[in-house]
Symmetry: none
Amino acid sequence: MISDLSPEIPGDQQNTEAARRGRRAAGCDPAKRRQILDGARRVFIDLGFDAASMNDITREAGVSKGTIYVYFASKEELFEAIIEEERGKIFNNLYGALEGGGSLRETLIRFGMALSLKITCDKVIRAQRTVIGASERVPDLGRRFYERGPLHGHMLFTGFLQSAMDEGLLDMKDPPLAAYQFTDLCMAGLFRQCLFAYRTEPPSDEEMRYVVAAGVDMFLKSYGTVKLWELEAREAATE
Amino acid sequence: MISDLSPEIPGDQQNTEAARRGRRAAGCDPAKRRQILDGARRVFIDLGFDAASMNDITREAGVSKGTIYVYFASKEELFEAIIEEERGKIFNNLYGALEGGGSLRETLIRFGMALSLKITCDKVIRAQRTVIGASERVPDLGRRFYERGPLHGHMLFTGFLQSAMDEGLLDMKDPPLAAYQFTDLCMAGLFRQCLFAYRTEPPSDEEMRYVVAAGVDMFLKSYGTVKLWELEAREAATE
Amino acid sequence: MISDLSPEIPGDQQNTEAARRGRRAAGCDPAKRRQILDGARRVFIDLGFDAASMNDITREAGVSKGTIYVYFASKEELFEAIIEEERGKIFNNLYGALEGGGSLRETLIRFGMALSLKITCDKVIRAQRTVIGASERVPDLGRRFYERGPLHGHMLFTGFLQSAMDEGLLDMKDPPLAAYQFTDLCMAGLFRQCLFAYRTEPPSDEEMRYVVAAGVDMFLKSYGTVKLWELEAREAATE
Amino acid sequence: MISDLSPEIPGDQQNTEAARRGRRAAGCDPAKRRQILDGARRVFIDLGFDAASMNDITREAGVSKGTIYVYFASKEELFEAIIEEERGKIFNNLYGALEGGGSLRETLIRFGMALSLKITCDKVIRAQRTVIGASERVPDLGRRFYERGPLHGHMLFTGFLQSAMDEGLLDMKDPPLAAYQFTDLCMAGLFRQCLFAYRTEPPSDEEMRYVVAAGVDMFLKSYGTVKLWELEAREAATE
DNA sequence: GATGAATGAGGGTTCATTCAT
DNA sequence: TATGAATGAACCCTCATTCAT
């Protein structure tokens, strides 16, 4: 099994005594925590860390300021919780696309599509903007996001390429670099266009398929083996 | 001569009457404007928009607060002027690398190096973070930055590829897409690593040369013509 | 028997019906009251009124916030109850020193020592600071503290001096003033030094004995009768 | 010349350039500084450090919150400035009473009166309460107040006693202790009564004269020499 | 009766903007 | 015209008090 990043979501509430009496321990009501996170996410993603005020969050989440501070020690901690969550939502289940079976080309296209569509969709672009904007002042935040998100994914995908090499389908000197090349080819031009708000709409499925297919072509033309061509030729013949 | 993006710098000084009296109209002394922009740039790039205070800028620029507000209506407007300028500094002269002569491979490597080193150097990454962070709230800012910077460069490079096609050295169906592919291959993995502060140091020349060479290889393997191979073979022989 | 100030501790529990059901009326369980007072005292004395938070008290006392508000209407009322109690602890048993027997000089020294050591010990100084600091805003608090503490003691000591006059050992026109003089001589300089935190350590027994002895000397030189001198001379001879 | 403590009042305003143009440097307008200090003093003295809010001070001083922070870095710093000033106002010129001439007894009474009336007057008691209340949490504040105020005065007075010893008018083993004794005798009972708000009115001149006279009597009876008695007898005869 | 999670006014402090000089 | 002292709204955070459980 290749995929799925991090579980997180703190187990919370052990609240022994309080729970018996139907009352939750302070800072341990998951519904309230959710409410705060949801409100805060909207505000942080929309406004960025600095421009977001705790009053905005208070209003958006529908809880009082004091309550937020029961669940999160500071604005910064709340923000980091949001980012962690977003990262999880973005990258979990993303690498399942590598496992579905089918030919190498099919798998690469399936994976490239999933990855690129995810990374460039509106919500995710906004989250990334927020993290990148905050990375100037809180570099750790960005670093952690990258390590647990893109970097982890990169390692999984590098492993996938290695397997394909073991099967004799690919031949490359530097699989990690190849993995980066593949990823970036799949979003050729699109990532920056989205990030800088040049595009107001995320790429369509169709457009994405065109770019990904071109990227896979290029990738396989570079790293595919004779064995791969024979396999593909045989398949094409049977269709 | 292929390159160089936009000069702008608002026409400034109409100062009719004031000038006659040996005095400039309010907000029209270009030296003062320069002084403000230089001070503000340092502060904005170092601290980001929100963390930068007008007092910081005042101190760094050596002009009074009131004066800044004569030249720029608000902190935000000043910020946008800085970004415009930064964009100019980043992308101007960048595309000169396409003109220096030499073989196609040499030119592509020279250009890929220039571009990637520029885009991932510390100052530029910080500027981009700042723009990206602000793009959520001021999408126009990011859009303008992208259009006049990366997009314009993309068009110049697409033109270059077209020329190479005309010379019979390259063969591609979609030169604009190819241009994006090339650009992103040259920074494979690195751009995001820098943006998210996973890397605290920009890539070294050496590392960059390795990545760019791999990117050019892949690019030419995909799009190079027989004529290109012959040319390269002949050159290799004469060395 | 001369001494011991005030018993207080409000009569509490009338708890008619509740008591019958084996349950106390709200705010009437003396053990709980004790628990709250003990916790609150530690917090108030350590931190002062303003810096002490009800959460601190809650934690220290081991009772819930709501419960505290059942026993005390407000933070301020709780504070006043603490002060009352502290006063009792400081001044009760203090005047027993006047009764132990021995010569007049011995008794005065014993009493002077007890009084001065008590008034200048760390805990008591802190309590007094707290009361004095609050006296600006709640003058009644200070007044009550003074009346039931120092003033009451002053009256007891004045009575003692009167007895000594009756025995012909002392001769003074204004015993109440003399009582004040004695008290202040016994702490000459020390009280203010402690109050203003010029001293971080309370005076040692040794130092205090030196000051008290000097004070008693001065006092008796002023107010002692011929009869006293004869008595002391005789005693000195028999030793 | 015996007396006068500390000059303080920062020299302020050198404001070179600004002054030329009739504008003061930030935080250097003495009138504004005065206004802030006056407003803050009223609030701090009335409410104590903790209970005083910067909003109260803003209102009382009639300046905006931002302005206060130009002149004083924090609430605490403002408070300390107030206390320093109060100390100066209390103790400056107090020890001039030791110089006026006249017999030793007259001088002691004059000094004792000046000191006691000052220390027990309403304004000064309130200031002392504030300092004492704050001493719990900021011991340095109280210590500094004591050292530069009462302690400095104590040293001056000890010097005076020394001179009287040199003249053969007094005889004492421990002049510093004697100085404390004198000081405390002059306020016998009164200091604590005022501090704890048992007295709502400061002692009258008449009452103070009675207490001081009694204190001086006692003091001289203890420490006066035969020479002093002869001198006083001669003076009494000539009257 | 006891609990402690929730409230929201108010704490000290900062800072973009204005305007008298 | 250029200045920078003054403003006051808004910042993040705390905490006395309440009330549903």
